[in-house]
C-alpha cells in the first residue's frame, strides 16, 4: 500500500474484502506522522476516531453489508468543518478553547455514510482570509513539491496532504480561490462547485455570498466520486459536444511563459480554442475584494471590539479595515456583481466551458511571499487569487486542474455555467486521459 493509491482503488479493495479499512487508516496515520513535521499541513490527528470509523467499515464488510462508495477511504478536512467533540477553530488560536461541536458538519456526515474515514484536520489561513496558509498559531504549510515554497491558501493544508500522498482526498472551502489556488500550487485537482450547491451546514463561515466547500484529489475520477457523495447524488448534465473557449484580456496578463505554454498545449489538444472576453474583470476582482473585506469585517466585528489582539495580525488588520468600509462601496460592488454575472452568463449561451489560468506562476518562496502584478511585487496572501476571485464572485463552478508541466505545479481553471459541473468533469477527464492534465507525485512523498 502506498500514498499514491486512489480513493477508488481503496474503496474497491475494502468493499471486496481484500484490504481492511483499519489497515488503510493506520497507514494514512503513519504517513501523516512521518510527513507532517516538515509540511505543517495537519493541525489535529484524529487517530482514535479514524480507527473507530475504519473498524465500523470492516465490520460492515464482514457482515455482508456494503459500506458505501468511499469504503475505508481516509480523508482530511480544513480546520473549519465541525467535527463532533472538537472545537471548530477556523485556524484561530482564540477559538482553541471554544466549546466542542456537538455534531459533524453535514459534509462529514455524508462522507461517513459513504464509508470514508476522517483522519485529520488541516491548516489554513486564520478565518480563511488569505491565499498563503501562513498561520500565526499553527505555522506555515509548506509545499510538498518544494518545502521552501508556499502551498497556497486558504485551504493549503488540505491541498498539501493530498499532494504529499498522505490521503487520497481532502475537503476545503473556497471563497475567492481558497480551493483553486492551493490545488494549482500543489499540483492536485480541486472543485469549487456552483455556489450553494454543496452542504454548508457546520462549516465556519467567512463571506456567505461566496463561500463554498469542495474536494481535493489526485485524479478526476476521485474528485468526481467525492463530489457525488457530497452532493448526495450523481453529477448530471450534458457532457457531449462540449463547446470550449479560452478567456482573453485580463486572463492573458500577469502570468509566466510556462502558464501560457501549458494553456497553449491544452488549446492545441482541443483543436484550437476561440478566445472570448469577459468584460471589466479588473472591476469584478475589486468588487469581490471589497465585499470580502466588508462581510468578513462585519462578521468578526464583535470579537474585534472585544479582543482584537487575539487575532492573527495578518488577518486582524484586514478585518478591521473591512469593518470600516463605507456602505456606498459595498452597494456599488453589489450592483456591479449583477451586471458582471449577466455578462458572464451571455458567454455561456455559446460555450459550455471557459478555460483560464488558475495562478500566474509557480508557488512563491516562503522567504519572499510575493507575486508580481502589473510589474509590482505585492503580497501573495492578498493577491494570489488574481484569476480566481472574479469567477467565484459570481458563483460559477470551477475545476482547478494541474497542467502537465516540467516546472513546479501550475494550474488551469475549467469554468462552467451554474450547475454545469458535469461538463467540467467530462472535459477534465478527457484532458487527463490525453496527458494534458496530471497530478505529479512529489519526489519526497512517503511510500
Amino acid at each position: 500500500m502506498t500514498g499514491a493509491q486512489s480513493a477508488i482503488a481503496i474503496a474497491s479493495a475494502v468493499r471486496a474484502g481484500t484490504q481492511s479499512a483499519a489497515e488503510v487508516a493506520r497507514a494514512a496515520l503513519a504517513r501523516i506522522q512521518a510527513g507532517n513535521p516538515l509540511l505543517c499541513a495537519v493541525t489535529r490527528v484524529l487517530g482514535e476516531r479514524a480507527l473507530a470509523e475504519a473498524e465500523a467499515v470492516d465490520a460492515a464488510v464482514a457482515a455482508g453489508r456494503d459500506p458505501g462508495p468511499l469504503a475505508g477511504v481516509p480523508y482530511a478536512v480544513k480546520d473549519l468543518f465541525d467535527v463532533a467533540g472538537l472545537p471548530t477553530t477556523a485556524g484561530a488560536a482564540m477559538l482553541a478553547d471554544a466549546p466542542p461541536s456537538p455534531t459533524d458538519a453535514e459534509a462529514l456526515r455524508r462522507m461517513r455514510a459513504a464509508g470514508a474515514v476522517l483522519v485529520a484536520t488541516c491548516n489554513m489561513d486564520e478565518f480563511a482570509y488569505g491565499f498563503a496558509t501562513v498561520n500565526a498559531a499553527h505555522g506555515t504549510t509548506r509545499n510538498p513539491h518544494d518545502p521552501e515554497r508556499l502551498a497556497g491558501g486558504s485551504s493549503g493544508g488540505s491541498a498539501a496532504v493530498v499532494a504529499a500522498g498522505m490521503v487520497p482526498v481532502a475537503l476545503g472551502s473556497d471563497t475567492n480561490g481558497s480551493i483553486r489556488v492551493p490545488a494549482a500550487l500543489c499540483g492536485v485537482f480541486g472543485l469549487k462547485p456552483t455556489h450553494a450547491s454543496l452542504p454548508m451546514e457546520g462549516v465556519f463561515p467567512f463571506v456567505d455570498s461566496f463561500d463554498d466547500i469542495g474536494p481535493f484529489a489526485r485524479s478526476v475520477a476521485d474528485l468526481e466520486l467525492v463530489t457525488q457523495v457530497l452532493a448526495d447524488g450523481a453529477v448530471e448534465g450534458a457532457t457531449a459536444g462540449l463547446r470550449v473557449a479560452r478567456l482573453g484580456g485580463w486572463f492573458t496578463r500577469n502570468h509566466s511563459v510556462e502558464v501560457t505554454t501549458g494553456l497553449d498545449r491544452l488549446a492545441a489538444h482541443l483543436g484550437g480554442l476561440e478566445t472570448v472576453e469577459l468584460p471589466q474583470v479588473d472591476r469584478a476582482r475589486s468588487a469581490a475584494y471589497l465585499m470580502t473585506a466588508a462581510e468578513g469585517g462585519a462578521r468578526h466585528l464583535p470579537e474585534l471590539r472585544r479582543r482584537q489582539l487575539a487575532f492573527d495580525p495578518a488577518t486582524r488588520d484586514r478585518l478591521i479595515a473591512g469593518a470600516m468600509l463605507p456602505a456606498s462601496a459595498m452597494i456599488a460592488a453589489q450592483g456591479f456583481r449583477e451586471r458582471f454575472r449577466a455578462a458572464a452568463l451571455r458567454l455561456f449561451e455559446h460555450h459550455d466551458v471557459l478555460v483560464a489560468p488558475c495562478v500566474g506562476d509557480v508557488a512563491p518562496r516562503i522567504d519572499d511571499p510575493t507575486v508580481t502584478v502589473d510589474g509590482e511585487r505585492v503580497a501573495a496572501r492578498a493577491h494570489l487569487g488574481l484569476f480566481t476571485q472574479p469567477i467565484s464572485f459570481i458563483g460559477l463552478p470551477v475545476i482547478a486542474a494541474p497542467l502537465a508541466v516540467q516546472s513546479l505545479p501550475l494550474g488551469v481553471q475549467l469554468i462552467g455555467r451554474p450547475g454545469g459541473e458535469a461538463a467540467l468533469f467530462a472535459l477534465a477527464r478527457s484532458l487527463e486521459q490525453a496527458g494534458v492534465l496530471a497530478a505529479p507525485m512529489p519526489m519526497s512523498a512517503p511510500a
Binding site: Q280, D282, R283, S286, A287, Y289, L290, A293, L301, L304, R305, Q308, L309, P313, R316, D317, R318, I320, A321, G322, A323, M324, L325, S328, A329, A332, A333, F336, A382
Partner: protein
C-alpha cells in the same frame, strides 16, 4: 443656541469609529492603514463606472 461643534478630519474619523464601537489598538494602526489604502484603490476602481440611469 450653542455654538456648532466643528470636527477636523481626525475628529470625523474618530466619530466613525465610535459609531462602530471600535477602538483600534496602536499596534494595529500601520496594518489597518495599509489595508484601508488597498480598499480605497479597489473602491475607486469599482466606482469608476458611471451609475446606470433610467432604472426604477
Amino acid at each position: 443656541m450653542s455654538e456648532p461643534v466643528w470636527l477636523d478630519e481626525g475628529g470625523v474619523a474618530a466619530l466613525a469609529l465610535a459609531m462602530l464601537d471600535l477602538h483600534i489598538a496602536p499596534e494595529c494602526l500601520p496594518g489597518v492603514r495599509a489595508n484601508l489604502d488597498a480598499l480605497a484603490a479597489h473602491t475607486r476602481r469599482v466606482e469608476s463606472e458611471p451609475p446606470s440611469e433610467g432604472r426604477g
